[in-house]
């Protein structure tokens, strides 16, 4: 009898503490998603937060210089059409998007190159070129601190769904999908490194391993090579589709561009 009573007592205490924990979880952190920043060491987090120590800010500075520089046959600079940087606030939070009179979505770098070829009448920047990354970083930096807010364009839905399929499909010699690591095993270790949840919160990122700024495309190519799959061609729409899916998956999370990653 005494044992039973103790058992019931313990059950009540357990139930009460469980309810309390649930209540706290509802109040504070219902969103359990983690940005890659939270999985980095303290030193790297400080590096990212300090605008004079974050090497990504060098590219933001360069992007600012390019923003005001006339280019192409039209002789126009970005600033001639768009004005100051403030006009770019929130843009990075909603890309990729479908440009006017187009059928397929483009990412931020693609949009910059569209502007360059159509409006400035200049040659597009090569993928991962310093100028393209600098302009992308400059634009993305204007959205720092804003929540990721993909547009509710119905035309985007099929592309996003294809992105989701790509996320889930097994590929490469290791026969892994993105989801196996970043959904099923996120937070666990791969060798000594914490597997991040793969939210595109800080792109373009300054990756210390790269010693330079890189786009989400480069990061995806890296992952594809890691699972020993053949990376898609640089101009493949697969990257944009994955970008669309990932931005939707990270909806509401805060942008931190330019991010620093190990």
């Amino acid at each position: 009898m005494k044992v039973l009573r103790l058992g019931i007592g313990l059950a009540i205490v357990f139930a009460a503490s469980w309810a309390l924990a649930q209540g706290m979880a509802d109040k504070g952190a219902t969103d359990k998603r983690r940005s890659g920043t939270q999985d980095m060491g303290e030193a790297l987090q400080k590096m990212q937060d300090d605008d004079t120590a974050n090497p990504g800010m060098l590219f933001v500075q360069l992007g600012g210089q390019l923003w005001g520089k006339a280019a192409g046959a039209a002789g126009k600079s970005c600033a001639d059409c768009h004005g100051g940087a403030a006009s770019m606030k929130g843009v990075a939070a909603r890309y990729p998007a479908i440009p006017k009179d187009a059928d397929a979505p483009v990412d931020l770098e693609g949009r910059i190159n569209l502007c360059r070829t159509a409006n400035q009448q200049a040659a597009g920047f090569p993928p991962e070129s310093r100028e393209l990354l600098a302009l992308a970083a400059y634009v993305a930096h204007q959205s720092r601190g804003l929540p990721i807010a993909p547009p509710d364009d119905p035309k985007l839905v099929p592309f996003r769904l294809k992105g989701q399929d790509l996320w889930k499909v097994r590929q490469g010699q290791l026969n892994l999908s993105c989801a196996i690591c970043h959904d099923d095993n996120a937070g666990r270790k791969l060798a000594g490194v914490t597997i991040p949840e793969a939210h595109p919160t800080g792109y373009p990122i300054y990756r210390l391993e790269w010693q330079t700024l890189g786009s989400l495309k480069r990061r995806l190519r890296n992952c594809l090579a890691g699972i020993r799959a053949e990376p898609y061609a640089y101009d493949a729409t697969e990257y944009v589709m994955l970008d669309l899916f990932l931005m939707d998956r990270a909806r509401g999370m805060m942008l931190e561009s330019p991010g620093v990653r190990p």
């Binding site: 605008d51 090497p55 360069l62 010693q211």
Partner: protein, 106 residues
């Protein structure tokens, strides 16, 4: 276009130790990598970083290919008089960048 980020205090107490931090953008090439044609790509690094306080040298650093592409340098100096801290990076392929920051000593 030079891209430099300097973090130095605008004011300092006389005799106090101040920290000066500088970060620079540089398209580094180690000099060890072969290019698409199999030949070694020529080295392109920052070779030297010097800092002066009102013209007097206070910090000097020699750099090597093992140092980060966009080197972040932090050093300390005693604030003895108001003036300008001059930072100078020199390297391969005629790379020269100069930057100045003013520190007022009270």
């Amino acid at each position: 276009m030079a891209n430099v980020l300097v973090n130095a205090p605008k004011t300092a107490k006389r005799g106090s130790v101040v920290e000066i931090k500088a970060l620079i953008l540089h398209p580094m090439e180690t000099g060890f990598r072969p290019g698409p044609n199999g030949r070694i790509i020529p080295r392109n690094i920052i070779e030297r970083f010097t800092a002066t306080w009102n013209g007097t040298e206070i910090f000097d650093m020699e750099m090597s290919p093992a140092i980060a592409a966009n080197p972040f340098v932090s050093f300390f100096a005693v604030a003895s008089e108001s003036g300008t801290v001059g930072l100078r990076w020199t390297g391969d392929e005629g790379f020269v960048v100069e930057e100045r920051v003013a520190i007022a000593v009270e």
